[in-house]
């Protein structure tokens, strides 16, 4: 269940955290030097890091088929289905199932993103057998009992109503709607006040049957467990799932609405601003150069250009940053910030100018050298807990990266030249920007260019789940 799911700002965070995770690799850290590829007798594969120092086991996994697979008129199906996976399974109703988890301190969580259903299991190693059974039941025999469905539906609707008044949720929602009109990527992950009531129990069961399958499954295991035990676990937990998922194709798409500044009126003291434009695909030869350029623009350190110009020099905002996001069929760069209403205009123009300037002149040699050094040495910070390592190993598999990714990544970053960075800065940042701003209209009117989307009649706001703007990177 996902009561009052986090805001869109957190959605961005999730994206970015994953992106950072997947890319923040280079040297060879202790906990991840020994990644083993393990295949069960039944043919299910997992990446394993055997680390017995702490007596726990983490199993993380992802299935293809997130909210992008929602039926067109039933947005929110993936989200609602996922929220019910721990609400009773097999012989155990919701109460009994939750009690089983609690009794052994087993932590089980699921999350629906745009293109994947992801989950994670954490258990003390002494309880792993029962924990694996819990996971098997949750995935292969979820009950979707009527009263649990109705409660989760009510909780979801409550969250959607709250988002109608949340500036960060609305900014993100409108950004994705405008960038991907009529495309699954533009749809609110949690659905809408109109769509969620129409999702039936049969819809939920059908969705689970279609996506929870073995052929698009990625698994990572980290902790106090050896390869032989993992092999047995894989067949036991995932072996009963259908062999093949039934996924509908998602059409390729490019972010739209470039050059627009979309305003949403909301009576709040602080205006929330989202911005971004088309990105670069994960498997594009320019990807690593784009990653470097983006880090210089708005990556997560106190020295990025946006942080320095918008926050440090002018005190306009508390936070400003952007990140690369990628999906199976599209990619964007996407950022967020917030400032008081009478400075929204100035902030938007400043961000716009900074992006334009980086596109035109590219980074300096000094910036490039520092950023490459940063990206190469910072990766170990993402490998000091079992949860982080497991999340990384799943992400690398989703991104079709090699088992020796750490060496590969360093090689790719080292290879980025100043000429590459300049060329890719232009390619990444010169395609036009879409801004959404949610706040008091007095300031927003100024922020809207004559040709922009603000000022005129606006379509009714569509609520979305807490996962708006969130989802897994790909």
């Amino acid at each position: 269940m996902k009561v009052f799911a986090s805001t869109a700002a957190h959605g961005l965070t999730r994206y970015a955290a994953l992106a950072a995770l997947a890319l923040a690799l280079s040297a060879a850290p202790a906990m991840a030097t020994t990644i083993e590829r393990v295949t069960s007798p039944g043919g299910i594969e997992a990446w394993l890091v055997h680390e017995p120092a702490v007596p726990l086991v983490v199993v993380s996994f992802a299935f293809d088929g997130g909210a992008a697979q929602d039926p067109d008129d039933k947005a929110g199906t993936a989200n609602l289905m996922t929220s019910l996976l721990d609400e009773g399974a097999g012989p155990y109703d919701s109460k009994a199932f939750q009690e089983r988890l609690d009794r052994k301190a087993v932590h089980l969580s699921f999350h629906a993103g745009r293109e994947h259903i992801q989950g994670s299991l954490r258990t003390l190693s002494e309880n792993k057998d029962e924990a694996f059974d819990d996971l098997r039941l949750a995935l292969t025999a979820p009950r979707f009992d009527a009263e649990d469905v109705e409660l989760n539906r009510a909780q979801t609707l409550s969250g959607l109503r709250r988002q109608l008044k949340s500036p960060s949720d609305l900014a993100s929602l409108r950004w994705w709607q405008t960038a991907y009109p009529g495309h699954p990527y533009g749809r609110p992950l949690g659905g809408t006040l109109e769509s969620v009531p129409g999702i039936s129990i049969d819809d939920l069961k059908a969705f689970a049957h279609k996506v929870l399958a073995r052929d698009h499954l990625k698994v990572a295991v980290v902790g106090d467990i050896d390869a032989a035990t993992v092999k047995t676990m894989l067949d036991r937990v995932f072996g009963e799932l259908p062999a093949h998922a039934e996924l509908k194709p998602v059409p390729p798409a490019i972010a739209q609405g470039l050059g627009r500044r979309v305003a949403v009126d909301l009576d709040v003291p602080q205006t929330v601003i989202d911005f971004g434009g088309p990105g670069i695909a994960r498997n594009d030869p320019d990807f690593f150069a784009a990653y470097v350029v983006n880090h210089i623009l708005g990556g997560g350190t106190f020295s990025s250009r946006l942080y320095q110009e918008v926050r440090e020099k002018r005190g306009l905002v508390y936070s400003v940053s952007d990140t690369l996001l990628w999906f199976n069929r599209s990619a964007v760069f996407f950022g967020s910030t917030a400032t008081r209403a009478d400075r929204a205009d100035e902030t938007i123009n400043l961000i716009s100018n900074e992006i334009h300037q980086l596109a035109e002149t590219g980074p300096t040699a000094d910036e490039l050298a520092k950023t490459k050094a940063y990206l190469n040495s910072s990766f170990v910070l993402n490998l000091d807990t079992s949860d982080k390592v497991a999340a990384l190993l799943v992400q690398l598999q989703l991104d079709h990266q090699p088992l020796d990714y750490m060496d590969y990544r360093k090689k790719m970053i080292d290879a980025v030249t100043l000429a590459d960075a300049r060329r890719v800065a232009k390619r990444l940042l010169d395609g036009g920007l879409l801004f959404t701003a949610v706040g008091r209209p007095s300031a927003l009117a100024n922020a809207s260019p004559p040709s922009g989307g603000a000022g005129g009649p606006r379509p009714a706001l569509m609520p979305s789940s807490g996962m708006v703007g969130g989802g897994e990177v790909h």
Binding site: M1, V3, F4, T13, A16, A17, A20, P29, A30, M31, A32, A53, L56, S94, K95, Q98, D102, K104, A105, H107, L124, L151, S158, R162, K165, P167, V268, P269, Q270, V272, G298, G299, G300, T301, F302, S303, S304, R311, E312, K313, G315, L316, Y318, S319, S321, D322, T323, A338, A373, Y374, S377, S378, F379, V380, L381, L383, D384, T385, S386, D387
Partner: protein, 474 residues
């Protein structure tokens, strides 16, 4: 899965971070918040957990080392025993403002040289402020620990501030206030409830400060506060990660050891609470509220101020009441079907007072007053009949497992020790926490409930959209 988490931002006393530089920042914030909740609902590492070394330098600086050799990473934190509760009345927000200004440079390392260094070596950094402590940290590849200590030791007494850098930073802080409080009615209610709960103790003021006072802060205030509280004999360094106590000791002596204590630090005496005789009620009405809620804070002891066993009993009580198997969720959400969410929390990590909280969000159509009566009935049941042996056992299992899970995360562990030690606990009391949890009896839990869930020492808060007569009654 946030059933046990207080929603609507009602849980204040959240740590305020220096920065949310990018996506990672919201994550850090979430971690900080989660951390507070974890602390309330969980434990320090078990006695069989990692080795802890603890020593003092000649200048009075305490150093704690938590070795974890799984990844070549180190978390370096310095904790000052000063927070918002130590501010002079009229200067609320000063501790937090100074925390921000600590990034503005010293004579030796002017401007953002410190942050530049952290970025150059691939590190992460941030800072946070609570009522009782102010902390700064870096997470870096292990070989850079001494460099971080050198920079942090320099910053302990070498801060240089001008109005030119302090003024824009005040705007940053005001934007942080907008983001956390002004844009969030739930957080506003939390502030009002704290102000009502603590009649005389400075915990009644928000860590971020009251806006009208924050607006008037300047660099002179900050420097005076800095000179009064930032000194080695008022600080604790916590180092967690791939290090040995011996090397940390040598590095600490060569860096921090050179800083002379510059003030005498007396006992931290704050005004205490009078006898509280009258239940208080506050209602916050805001058109942005889409999901009403009721919550209550009870004045309670902290782990430092509690009688032996009392804080642990309150911890178990909170655990039994909260979570998807908790009394409140089961009773109000599942059995009576009148709430969408319900739970409890206990914040024990504080110098003077803790806080025990309960909360619930009604289903559409259910009146807050009706929900409050049901909440009271559930609490009365625990007071009258105590908890079951099964509930006691499950709570203990969960709390003790959390200690193992925490050992998987060096940053979490470092935070536990830092927060505990700056609020009056000792290394030994933190280490033996699981043993004390094991010793709690059902009778002790009932006794704690009877004594501390006393309406006369409480404030009840309603979060509503508008002031209908029903919601406004008291």
């Amino acid at each position: 899965m946030s059933r046990s988490t207080c929603d609507h931002g009602l849980l204040d006393k959240i740590l305020l971070n220096k920065a949310a530089p990018g996506a990672a920042s919201a994550t850090r914030l979430a971690i900080a918040a989660a951390f507070i909740l974890t602390l309330s609902a969980s434990a320090a590492p078990a006695a069989n957990g990692p080795e802890v070394a603890d020593f003092k330098l000649a200048n009075g600086l305490e150093v704690v080392v938590l070795p974890d050799h799984r990844a070549p990473v180190v978390t370096h934190m310095i904790w000052y025993k000063v927070g918002a509760a130590d501010e002079t009345p009229g200067k609320s927000g000063l501790a937090h403002y100074l925390e921000h200004l600590m990034f503005k440079g010293t004579q030796t390392n002017p401007g953002n040289a410190f942050s530049q260094t952290v970025a150059a070596i691939g590190g992460q950094e941030n800072a946070f402020t609570s009522s009782d402590y102010t902390g700064f940290f870096q997470r870096v590849p292990r070989e850079h620990l001494k460099e971080m200590m050198t920079l942090e030791a320099d910053r302990m007494t070498g801060l240089v501030l001008t109005d030119e850098v302090a003024r824009p930073e005040l705007n940053v802080v005001l934007e942080e206030l907008n983001m956390r409080v002004a844009n969030n009615p739930g957080a506003q209610l939390g502030e009002q409830m704290d102000a009502s709960l603590y009649l005389n103790h400075p915990y009644h003021r928000p860590v971020i400060g009251w806006r009208h006072e924050v607006e008037k802060l300047d660099s002179k205030d900050a420097l005076a506060f800095y000179r009064r509280f930032y000194s080695p004999n008022n600080a604790i360094v916590v180092v967690a990660g791939d290090v040995t106590p011996d090397e940390v000791k040598a590095d600490a002596e060569a860096t921090y050891g050179k800083v002379a204590a510059r003030v005498e630090i007396g006992p931290r005496l704050r005004p205490s609470e009078p006898i509280q005789d009258a239940p208080r009620r506050v209602t916050l009405a805001d058109p942005r509220v889409e999901q009403p809620s009721v919550s209550r804070y009870y004045l309670s002891p902290s782990s430092t101020s509690a009688k032996p066993g009392e804080s642990e009993a309150l911890e178990i009580l909170a655990n039994v009441l909260s979570g998807s198997n908790g009394r409140l969720y089961r009773t109000l959400v599942l059995d009576k079907g009148i709430a969408l969410n319900a739970g409890a929390f206990y914040t024990d990590t504080a110098l003077d007072y803790g806080k025990f909280g309960v909360f619930a969000s009604p289903k559409p159509g259910v009146k807050l007053h009706e929900l409050e009566l049901a909440l009271d009935a559930a609490l009365a049941e625990v007071i009258a009949h105590g908890i079951t042996a099964d509930e006691l056992e499950r709570a203990k299992t969960g709390l003790i497992a959390d200690a193992v899970y925490a050992a998987d995360n060096q940053a979490t562990l470092a935070r536990w020790y830092g927060a505990g030690l700056t609020t009056g606990e000792t290394v030994d009391s933190i280490r033996t926490w699981p043993d004390r949890v094991r010793a709690v009896t059902a009778e002790a839990v009932q006794q704690a409930a009877r004594h501390w869930l006393d309406a006369r020492r409480s404030v009840t808060g309603y979060l509503v959209k508008d002031l209908k007569p029903e919601e406004n009654r008291s």
